[in-house]
Amino acid sequence: MTGLLDVRGLRTVFHAPEGAWAAVDGVDLTIGRGEVLCLVGESGSGKSVTGFSIVRLIDPPGEIVEGEILFDGADLRRASQEDLRALRGNRIAMVFQDPLSTLNPVLTIGEQMAEAITAHRSCSKAQITEESVRALARVGIPSPEVRLRQYPHEFSGGMRQRVAIAIALLNSPDLIIADEPTTALDVTIQSQILYEVQKLARETGTAILWITHDLAIVAELADRVAVMYAGQIVESGPADDVLDRPRHPYTLGLLKSSTGTVQPGERLHQIDGNAPRIDARPSGCPFRTRCDRVVAVCAEVYPARQQAGEQIFRCHNPVTSASVTSGEDLP
């Protein structure tokens, strides 16, 4: 299957004196045009590194060592620096986690929007202003003409994230990679922004890779979901399938600990233990140190990729459900 973005076998390591540790370890992802894919996992599972690897914004000591990043048919791993620059912010835009630090404090919002346009196309001053005003209005910022002349510190966190999203929208990208863009915001603003982003994606046909640790967001937003653990995708598929019938014990654990699934008064479930550090990943299945379905083979053999309908997962002892077709092993 090929989509707008096709990541195959991506492996990104960080070099340390003792060796190279893989933050992203053989990741496959596919996003179709106009599709919203949520990449979910606990902190430290390699979601951000995956996002930055796609646009090749990995700085030493990090290095992308294996895999293909096919974007619209071309492998970004072979793209030149100038090709990548021309692509970033133009065909693939990003929104970062912390809205307080992503905008340059000493430049006006207007300047930071204008440069995002002029980096990719020549444009008259009037046109730049018009497009910037339109983008700000689209993400729900009142009196955009005035706001253009202001500096980031004159905006609240939620407003700054809207500005960042407006900047991402400026060049009508094919794909937006949003790295936990609402994590730093409070819940009401979070759902407003979610709603608006979803609407914009539909209107413009922009595909979204939405990175989050919160399954509640997945339910609201995603067409498809990929669950990441210790640098690997442990389960992926249509959001409804994965949320309704999780096959991987880790996905189930995440679901149980998600705020969206608990009833009032019920205690929030926690997955025991912590995610393994990048330099201390267990052999076999990386989740085995925390898994309550662990079997003997888990320690020795890395689970093969299994498919049930459109759902893909890697587990020796998957969560059972009547509707699961028997696990056909794929290479």
């Binding site: 620059r85 992503t102 980096a119």
Partner: protein, 325 residues
């Protein structure tokens, strides 16, 4: 804004008053200028007349208030040695010092911005290591030693440049300057270099540290994710943020260069304010020393104010308000 300036004005006056007391009494505690001023063959009557004429027969506190009263009307006293008002004496030496200081600050800025940016953006490269090692050497050598080595190398051994003095000057806007004659420029090179080295070194280190820190900031990564060309990221995003500390240092250093370019001016016999200060201290020319310190205090206060205003212009988060300290 107005409240801010009012507060700063009151602060400044308080600083000036405090400095005047300290300096006045300190200087009057050192040595007896009469011994140096009165010719050995003078009679006792002549000696008394001189003491009376200079006001030295009055008690110290009385002398201080006389000084203060005169100072308020712009008269900081008359030089014991030169017999002319000290303000015009000092200001007469100002152009020579200013031209030296300005030229050295410009040199420092022009040299340090590209070097510092390069070293900060490519910290592991060989040239960057070379630059940073150079700054350590530049830092640790004392000014008089550097000055003498420059003279030794360029004047004595190579014979390229003059050793001392200001060279030929011409009038420009009513001031004498060495900037527009070949001879004057030749005389300027070594003292300018000597004065510029410590500031260049300081600014290279500041800019390099600022640049390497800025590259790790989210706003730089975000700019890269927007596809902004590297040149613009460096010139607009990074440099603009580094300028804030640099402006502070330039301001402070400018003040201290004007006030205390003493060593360089002495080594190169440059007839500026610094040399005047040293000469006056040797000759116990009290009014000159006191006035000198008062004027440099005024200079520092002024420079500080300018730096604050520049700060507000560079950093939109800084608001000049009465509450700021």
């Amino acid at each position: 804004m107005t409240a801010y300036f009012l507060q700063r004005l009151i602060q400044s006056i308080a600083v000036l008053l405090a400095v005047s007391v300290v300096v006045f009494f300190a200087v009057y505690g050192i040595g007896d200028p009469i011994e140096l001023l009165v010719p050995p063959q003078a009679s006792a009557a002549e000696r008394l007349a001189l003491i009376k004429r200079l006001g030295l027969d009055q008690p110290v506190w009385h002398q201080y208030f006389t000084f203060l009263g005169n100072a308020l009307s712009g008269n900081l006293g008359t030089s014991f040695v030169h017999g002319v008002p000290v303000v015009s004496l000092i200001l007469g030496r100002l152009p020579a010092t200013l031209e030296l200081v300005l030229l050295s600050m410009i040199t420092a800025a022009v040299v340090s911005v590209p070097l510092g940016l390069y070293a900060g953006l490519n910290p592991d490269s060989r040239p960057a290591r070379f630059i940073m090692a150079g700054t350590v050497i530049g830092f640790s050598l004392p000014s008089f030693w550097k000055g003498m080595m420059l003279v030794l190398l360029f004047s004595v051994w190579l014979g390229w440049l003059p050793t001392a003095g200001r060279g030929e000057t011409v009038a420009f806007l009513g001031l004498q300057t060495s900037l527009f004659t070949w001879d004057g420029l030749e005389h300027l090179i070594l003292p300018t270099l000597n004065l510029a080295i410590p500031n260049t070194v300081l600014m290279v280190r500041l800019i390099a540290a600022g640049a390497s820190e800025a590259t790790t900031q989210d706003y730089v990564k975000f700019a890269r994710a927007k596809g902004i060309p590297r040149r613009r990221i460096v010139n607009r995003h990074i440099l603009r943020n580094i300028l804030i500390p640099v402006v502070t240092v330039v301001g402070i250093e400018f003040g201290s260069l004007v006030a205390f370019s003493t060593i360089t001016e002495t080594v190169f016999s440059w007839p500026g304010m610094g040399k005047l200060l040293i000469d006056s201290i040797y000759q116990l020319d009290r009014p000159v020393v006191v006035a000198y310190v008062m004027l440099t205090t005024l200079l520092f206060v002024g420079v500080n104010l300018i730096v604050d205003v520049l700060y507000a212009a560079l950093d939109p988060r800084v608001k000049l308000s009465g509450g700021m300290t």
